[in-house]
Symmetry: C2
Subunit: 98 residues, 2 copies
DNA sequence: AAATATATTCGAAAGTATTCGAACTATCGA
DNA sequence: TCGATAGTTCGAATACTTTCGAATATATTT
């Protein structure tokens, strides 16, 4: 579940970090011009969370459909799924439509 | 925290029930023409949750700022806070703006 | 093949959440 | 003021979450 995934403080931090560090519309750090990184290790370094915990939380965020992942050599790049983001925005808009 | 409040299945059900049963812009069941109800007991009856549990969850939703409450005689009316709803919609929109 | 860098899985400890029933408080109506 | 209706608080049982370190797996480089 999406909200369960975002209910943990560290997972929310990770999600927000990915949402803000990654240029919208690009796919993680492999748009060379963007110059942003979003691999599992980077998240742990930036947010001071040990790798095994990052890995666990990433799995939850992925399971909830909030982030996408792709292996790039040794690293695994992560980025927020824009489709899900749009879906959530609409979810909270809906009840207000008259 | 808002997402923590919505992370529980029963709380999410309660929130969605309130979001859909109550006419947007009105304040619970005391807009007579609306004809909808949203008191604590109704929620329990509709969603098959015992009163003490409803009460506990309502408190959480209220604490998170998701719902508003007001005593109307013996009953306590609940409704989703439209301001918070708009805030959440904007929250998920933000990262997509370029 | 060995060494290095990166990420995952596992098990365990500590903390937190969920749910219920029983007892309690609050409000209204006769 | 008594009884009925509506909600809350409390305590306890059960279940789930979070986090870490150690061991394991995967990928690159030499």
């Amino acid at each position: 579940d999406v909200f369960k995934a975002l209910s943990n403080p560290n997972r929310l931090r990770m999600f927000l970090h990915l949402a803000t560090c990654c240029v919208p519309g690009t796919v993680g750090s492999f748009d060379a011009e963007a110059g942003v990184s979003a691999c599992v290790g980077d998240l742990g370094r930036d947010l001071k969370i040990v790798p095994s915990t990052v890995s666990h939380h990433i799995k939850e965020l992925h399971r909830a459909g909030l982030i996408r992942m792709e292996r790039r050599g040794q690293k695994i790049e992560c980025w927020v799924d824009p489709v899900m983001l749009r879906g959530l925005a609409r979810f909270f808009h809906k009840p207000l439509e008259e």
